[in-house]
Structures are given as C-alpha cells and as structure tokens.
Amino acid sequence: MPLRIRLRPRALCLRIMHPKTPLSASYASLATATTPAPPIEHIRSVPPVLRYPPTQPPSHKPPEVRKTQLHRQYQSLLKSSALILLFQHNNVKAVELMGIRRELAIALDKVDAERAKNGQPLFADQIKLQIIQTGIFASALRVVEFFNPVESTLDHAQHPTDPRTPTSVQITQTTNSPEDERFKHGLSKHAWDVASNRKLKIELEPLLSGPLAIVAFPAVSPQHLKTVLSILSPSPDFPAPRRKANPDLYEPAVQSGLQKMMLLGARVEGKVFDMEGTKWVGGIEGGIDGLRAQLVQMLQGVGGSLASALEGASRSLYFTVEGRRMDMEEKENPTKKEE
C-alpha cells in the first residue's frame, strides 16, 4: 500500500543506523531500520503467550452463563461421587423440601455421631438432596462417560507463562479459539463433539427425563445409604424411624413431600442399579469394612481348602503306606514274640 504521508525518497536514505555489530556496518545501502539478528548462541526461545486465563480455557458455550457453570458442577459431581441416587420430585413445595432436607440432615448426623466413635470417616455434611437440571445433567454425564482425553502429567505441571517453566518444555500449542481440538477440559467444544456422538448411549438415559433430584455420596457407605433410603423411600427393608423417636418426620408437610418423591435408580461407581439393586447395596451388613472382612474371610477359606485339596492326594498316600508299614511291623513283631 502506498504511504499516507508523502516522504521524499532522499529523506529515507539519510536515516541510516550505525549498528555496533560488524554485520551490516559496511552496508550503507541497506538503509532499513532493522536491528540485525544476534548470533545463534544468544537466541533464547520465548514461551508462547496464552491469551486466555489458565483457569478458564475457551468453552463451547459462553462461560458466564448458568448453563456452563452447572455443566461444570455436574461434571465434577459425577466424577467425585461414588454413589448417586436418582429421585423424581413431583411438584414438591419449598416448605416440604425444606422439611425433607432437615430430616435428612438430622438422620445423617446421627449416623456420623456413631461413626465418630469408631473413628471412621465422616461425610454427613457432604450428602445433600439436590434438584438438578435434567438436560444439562444428561449432557454432563455424556461428557464424563465418553470424553477421556489422554492426559499427560506435563499438562498439569507446567504452564507456558509461569516463569519457573524451563523454556525447553513441550507445551500444547493451543490457540485461543474454542474450536481447537487440543483442549482437554470437559467444557471444550472438542469434548462436546466427542460426547454428542449419538451412537454411544448411556445406561442411565431412560431415567433422565422429567423433574429429577439427586443425592450424591462421596463414597459407597451402606450405613449412610440405609439412612437415606429409610427417610426418602421407606419400605419394609428400610423402615422409617418411629413416630416416637422422630416426631418431626411425621409433620404433614414433610410427609406429603416424601410421598411425592420416587426413587428411580442409582449410579454406583459408574454402574447403574435399579431400585432393588440399590436396596441390595444398602443391605450390605457392616458397611464397606464388613464387606471387606467378608471378602478376606472368603479368600482365606478358599486358600486353605485349595491347599488341603492339593496335598490331599499325597497325604492319603502317606497314610496308606504308613498304615501298611505298621501292619507289617505288627505282623513281624508278634511272629518274633511268638518265637
């Protein structure tokens, strides 16, 4: 493009730099105002500059909208909860919901008080009844199940704009556009593309319609599960606490709210269970420790019986031979005695 300011060509020639290095000193005709490149040994590579904050890489939808925030929350909930119960709530009023949450908290605190005596980990305050946005939850579940990028440890350890990062480090050259396929976080467009492949189906899909609420447990604890089931979906296997023991539970508001809650199923460590399966998980005696003890006992028993089965053949042979020997000795001895 021609210059806006009309400069006389002679004026340009007069502006010659006097460089210090010997490279262009003798070339006055090279009247360009550029610094000559330093020798190769002095070149240092500059780490790439990220134009997005490290805590918020570009996401598929705008990051400030509630949908994206909920998506991220649900992804983290799904990854961190070992056990998730799914309920349908049919027009439960706010006062009823309040009452239900209160009763749940009281019952779980009682369980935790007992566990504190035995020194077991406590997580009553992490177990809450949460009403979820079903569509966003379904989308987050798809991302969690189907988007498994290969994460190298270097991705988390080093960051380009961190001064401690050595310049020789390999850094993923991600650009600022959300469409870049090198992004590995769950909110990226790449994650959405992978997860929205309709050929992949999640097991929980038929349950994910209508108004839903979840109760998420950080670990599979049959004790806590039993308590939650006895309050939220009482049945002969999990009877609700008696009126005398817990009069507040039988308030009309709480009872009408509880009648509107339906247990649909559960997701335990990635596997889907229906109502009976959930009851089975809740019915495991003694909690996770009891289950472990049972397993250990079974394995020990198996080991013992295996060992005895293997040596049984040689043992019976030994006894047979010994018995025969004894017999023969006895026969010899009496004959000797007789003699």
Binding site: Q88, N90, N91, P206, S209, G210, M275
Partner: protein
C-alpha cells in the same frame, strides 16, 4: 390437565424402559395439593428386567374408571383421554350451578 375430578391414580411402570416416560410425566402433572384434597395416588415400580407394559388406572368422581396402556401412547394423548372425561364432568358441574 384438569385434575380436580380425579379421585384415584394408579401407575405401574419400569423406570428403565423408554416407554415409561408418559407414566412419569403424568405423575409430575398432578398438582402439589392434590393429595391433601383427597386424591389417592399409588405408584408401583417394576424391576429393570421386567417387560410388562406401563399402565395407568384413573378413577373419576362420578365413578368412571379409565385404564390406559401407556406402551403406544404419548403423554399428550394420555392427557387428552383423561381430559375428555374431566371436561364432561366440568360441564355437568357448570350446569348444576355450584
């Protein structure tokens, strides 16, 4: 959906079957105070492996019973069926002047 003429709702479905959706949605359409004003709602959930079709049984205030198999119906069709009789009852109510 007009629900003030219903006295009894009986639903049976397998939540893992995709055809149980109208059953669940019907339950979510019942207003919050329905139980307090005398409606009896009975829900039965079938196990995951069950192949039984989802059923909905509704009783009205004039004694009429409506039993629907929700296998081939969508929720809009279910609502239409229930509303049809409810509208007849509503008209009767209007005419008798309350």
């Amino acid at each position: 959906m007009i629900t003030r003429f219903l006295t009894n709702v009986r639903v049976k479905f397998n939540p893992f079957s995709p055809r149980a959706k109208p059953a669940r949605l019907f339950l979510s359409l019942i207003p919050p105070d329905a139980r307090a004003s005398g409606m009896v709602i009975d829900t039965k959930m079938l196990p995951r492996t069950s192949k039984e079709p989802a059923t909905l049984g509704v009783k009205f205030k004039d004694g009429k019973e409506l039993n629907l198999e929700l296998d081939k119906m969508r929720i809009t069709e279910v609502m239409e069926e229930v509303d049809r009789h409810s509208r007849i009852l509503a008209r009767k109510e209007e005419l008798t002047g309350n």
